[in-house]
Each structure stands twice: as C-alpha cells, then as structure tokens.
C-alpha cells in the first residue's frame, strides 16, 4: 500500500472515529460538523477529478452542487404536497431516487457546459465555467415556483431504507458511506486507463494527441463524472440543512470547493476531505469568535500556496507519485 493510500485511510477513519466519539459524548452538534465535512469532502472529491486529475480548473462547480441540492428540494416538495412533477410523475422523498435524479440532471448540464467550455483552456475555461454557473444562479433566483431568492425548505428530511435519517448519526453514516464510495471511485479512476489519459492530458495534451487519444472526449467524460459526484454531495447538503437556496449556486461555493482542494492537496486522494476538515474546523473554531474567520482561512491558504504546495496531503504523505 502506498503512503498516499495509508494516510488517506487514516484521515477517513479519523472522521468516522470523531463522529462516534461525539455520539458517545452525546454531542450531536459535532456529528453535524462531521457530516458537513463528509459532504463538502465528497463535493470537492468530485471537483478533484476534473481539477486534480484533469487540470480543468472549473470555477463553476457550484452549478452542479446546486443542481443536486435543488433536485432534493424540488422532488421532496412535490412529494410533500402530493403534486405531480413532470408528465404526471410524482415527487419523491427517497434519497436514492433523489441522488440518481440529481446526478443525471447535473450530468446532462455538464455535457452542455463541457461541450462549450472545454474548447477553451486556462483563464478562458475558468471564466466560461463561472459564467454558466452564474447564469444558473440568477435563473434560480428568478424562479418563484421554487422559492426564488428565498430558497426552498425541506420540511422532513428525505428517507433512506432501513434507517431513521433524522437521527444525526444515521444521516452521518449515509454521507460517510457515499464519501467512501466517492474516494474509492476517485482512486480507481486515477489508476485506470482513463485516468492515465486524463492525467497525461493535464501534463501535456500535445503528447496525448500524438499517441492517438483525443484530449477533448477524455476531458468531457471526466467533467461529467466530476459534476455528477459534486451533485450527489449537493443533494446530501440539502438534506443536511433541510433547506436549499440559490446560494448553493453562487460563485462563493465554487471558490470554496477549489479552496478545499488547494488546502488539502490538488489531485490527492484524501486531499479534498482533508481540506474540508480544516475548513469546517476553522469555520467552527473561529466563526464563534469573529465573523471575519475567513480572513484567517485566507492566511492559511496563502501559507499553503507559498510554503506547502502539496497542501495537507503533501505535508503528510510527501510528493505525489505516478508509478
């Protein structure tokens, strides 16, 4: 087992242990913090496929996070009010159905955004993905059917077979389970043929084309997979807060996901999760003292960029190795 894998398992196990300790102490608020870490970690792991493996700095992943969130909110609202949704189809409060719907919706939007934005690179790619996300943001604000600017409440958390999702620990375990699946999926992709092509394209797309692999298709598929994973996290996020609002689509959210990856380690297996843990801890520890806690997060980010390029994973597991 590589050091990268070992450290990643330790971080993931640490999160699980923390939740159980909080449970034993009867501190449900800490379980909620751990749940937040798992969800943000999953969202950023999704982005890490595009950004870390593919070098695609998407500044619009909030679009997919929000689509996942709104999938949960809209389906749950229709189920709650017993109103048919589309073509007579009913809403649902089943998480599994919501996840699939959210991921598919995000995947379709990602195909459209990707077909256009992946024809560019560098700053243009960043700006085009941002522009698309902002379009969706303003669309959500001006869509009164689903709350517009005020957002949409989910009155009862959606259900998952065999558990009571209202119990903080049960909901944490659902999120944690999906996080683990997401991380395993990331590791498999990274080590696969597809991952080899994607990473080679990040390093040198002339080389990729010269061996006969078109970089565009590889990137488009990666972008779509990445969006779907982030959307899944968005659906969980909606259920965590029992509320969705257009702020899930805002560029702050896109930036936050990028920040998580940079703090944790770009392209590293548990990097996004490590970033999410640091982020949520900061938010919790400093957020109580000053509302300007993001200033201190900014200092951390600066320190990482200047002195620890590999982020948390770089410090713990050393430089990335590529076989």
């Amino acid at each position: 087992m590589t050091r990268e894998t070992t450290i990643s398992i330790v971080i993931v196990a640490g999160l699980l242990a923390a939740a159980f300790i909080a449970q034993a102490m009867g501190e449900t608020f800490y379980i909620t913090l751990a749940t937040r870490m798992a969800i943000l970690g999953l969202a950023a792991t999704g982005l890490n496929i595009a950004l870390g493996l593919g070098g695609l700095v998407s500044f619009g992943h909030a679009a997919f996070f929000g689509i996942g969130g709104y999938a949960a909110g809209i389906l749950a609202t229709h189920a709650f009010n017993s109103e048919p949704l589309l073509l007579g189809l009913p809403g649902t409060n089943q998480m599994i159905v919501i996840w699939i719907a959210g991921a598919i919706a995000a995947g379709l939007v990602a195909v459209l955004i990707g077909l256009i934005s992946l024809r560019t690179s560098g700053v243009y790619f960043i700006m085009i993905t941002l522009a698309f996300a902002q379009m969706i943001y303003y669309f959500a604000i001006s869509w009164p059917a689903y709350g517009g600017e005020d957002g949409l409440s989910i009155y009862v958390r959606n259900t998952f077979p065999g558990t009571n999702t209202l119990a903080p620990m049960s909901f944490f375990l659902i999120c944690f389970g999906l996080l683990v699946i997401g991380l395993v999926f990331f590791a498999l992709i990274r080590d696969s043929r597809f991952g080899a092509a994607l990473q080679a394209g990040r390093q040198n797309d002339t080389r990729l084309a010269a061996v006969g692999i078109g970089p565009f298709r590889v990137r488009l598929v990666a972008f779509v997979i990445s969006a779907m994973m982030t959307a899944l996290a968005g659906a969980l996020f909606a259920d965590l807060n029992r509320f969705v609002s257009p702020s899930m689509f805002s560029w702050h959210m896109s930036g936050e996901l990028i920040v998580l990856i940079i703090i944790g380690g770009v392209g590293r297996l548990a990097g996004p999760l490590a970033g999410a843990i640091v982020y949520v801890l900061f938010e919790f520890a400093l957020g109580g003292i000053t509302e300007h806690w993001q200033f201190f997060l900014g200092l951390i980010l600066l320190a990482v960029v200047l002195f620890a390029r590999g982020g948390v994973m770089g410090l713990l597991a050393g430089r990335a190795r590529h076989g």
Binding site: L188, I189, D191, S192, R193, F194, G195, A196, A197, Q199, A200, Q203, N204, T206, R207, L208, A209, A210, V211, G212, I213, G214, P215, V218, V221, A320, H322, G323
Partner: protein, 249 residues
C-alpha cells in the same frame, strides 16, 4: 515501384506573405529512410506539423496509405499509424518512462475509456511497454519520471513511444539533436534496422547520420524542395551545394 505509405502533393501553406510551404511534393515508400534536410527556417517543422495534423495546409494533398488524411485531427492520424517524435521532446513529465510508453500501448489497443482496472497491474500494457523501452535501451530507466531523464534519454523515450504505437511510418523531427556522439552513433544503428519495420521520414541536421542512413534525401529551401535524390545525387547537386551544404562539403 511499391505504393508510397505517405504521399504529399503540391502542399502549400502561407503565413501572411511568407510561403512556409510552397508547393511541396514528397513521398515515403515502404522500407526506406527519406531524409528531409534544409537550412533553419526552410519550413521543415511547418511541413511536419501539416503531415501530423497540428497545422492545416492552405491547399494540396496528404495521403497516408492511400487515404486522404486532411480532414483528420492529430489524434486520428496517430491512430492510423503516424508515429511522430518532436523537435523539442514532448512527454508527460510527471509520468515515469514506463507510463509514458504505456499510454501509447493503451492508445493502440483503442481502450482509453476503461475506468476501473489499475494500469500498473495490467500486463497487456506493461509488457509491450517494457519491450519498447528495451529496444531503445532504456530498460533500467523505466521507473524514472520523464522530467528527470537526460535530454538524450527523452529522445529515446519518444522513439520508444512511437514503437509502442505500432507506427506504420515514423516522422522523426531531429531525433539526434542534443545527443552526444555516442548516442547519435547508437541511434543511427538503431534507425538503420528500424526502416525494415516501417519507413522513416527523417528530419535531421546531423549530416553524418543523414548520409549514413538515407535511401533518399529531399532538400527544402524557402518552402520549396529544390532536389530529391540518392545520397550521391544530393552531395553532387550544384544548387544544393550552394544553398545548403556550402562549398567544400
């Protein structure tokens, strides 16, 4: 005469007033090394770019195994069997030498959309890659990242990649550049044997290598081919001596 693998007819490409490729016709036949020489700025690299697909010609024909490849992009032409090396090495720097070659093996197998099987345990990738590295003499450097290889080793690695692609024709853009005399000698010997596998269009400044290897030589000056012929034809061609080799060459 055998059908040419690569057949270029009246190719033209201008950048503004500059005619970088000015009616070039050229072919590459099975089993031969066809060297393309010419002074700096003659348009050799522009020509290679058009053949490989990274630059679109204004007019003219490029046929590969009888097929018009002008509508195809770089990747599609590579899949047809154009094994190209670059004037300035172009590799995936973070990948080991082995993984760089494995990428070509996987491309040849046409299977880059497999998501779950780890490549490092896939012997259908690692074995052909090791073979290709062994052929260019890089076996003991297989695990070194491309960024850490020496300049000469990177050139060898590019050739290993072209081998692993199962190229039907090699387009080698100054493969000897920056190599020491020993390296050049070893590469010359290697290329000599390689022509039996697939013909080589060789762009090279090292005249010793060109004269030792080439079956035919074309001389490109200001975007035009001023002469094509055997080594002796070219050595004795007055216009070539004047334009390129200089008196006394």
């Amino acid at each position: 005469m055998a059908e040419p693998i690569l057949d270029i007819r009246d190719l033209r490409k201008s950048f503004g007033a500059l005619k970088a490729t000015d009616g070039v016709s050229l072919d590459l036949r099975p089993g031969e090394i066809h060297a393309l020489i010419g002074p700096n700025g003659a348009g050799k690299s522009t020509l290679i770019h058009q053949i490989a697909g990274s630059l679109k010609p204004d007019s003219g024909e490029i046929r590969f195994e009888g097929r018009d490849v002008k509508p195809l992009d770089v990747a599609a032409r590579a899949r047809l069997g154009m094994g190209r090396t670059f004037q300035v090495s172009s590799l995936a720097p973070e990948f080991s030498a082995l993984r760089n070659v494995m990428l070509a093996v996987q491309a040849r197998q046409g299977s880059s959309f497999r998501f779950f099987k780890p490549v490092m345990h896939d012997r259908s990738l690692t074995e052909p890659a090791h073979e290709a590295l062994a052929r260019v003499g890089l076996s003991d450097r297989a695990d070194v990242s491309a960024a850490e290889l020496s300049h000469g080793e990177r050139r060898q690695l590019e050739i290993a990649i072209a081998l692993a692609l199962g190229a039907k024709a090699f387009l080698l853009d100054e493969p000897m550049a920056g190599m020491g005399p020993e390296g050049s000698q070893a590469l010359t010997t290697f290329l000599d044997g390689l022509r039996a596998e697939a013909p080589i269009l060789l762009i090279e400044h090292d005249m010793d290598a060109v004269f030792a290897l080439a079956d035919r030589i074309s001389v490109l000056v200001y975007g035009r081919i001023i002469a094509t012929g055997t080594v002796d034809d070219i050595r004795n061609h007055p216009a070539v001596r004047e334009a390129y080799l200089g008196d006394g060459a």
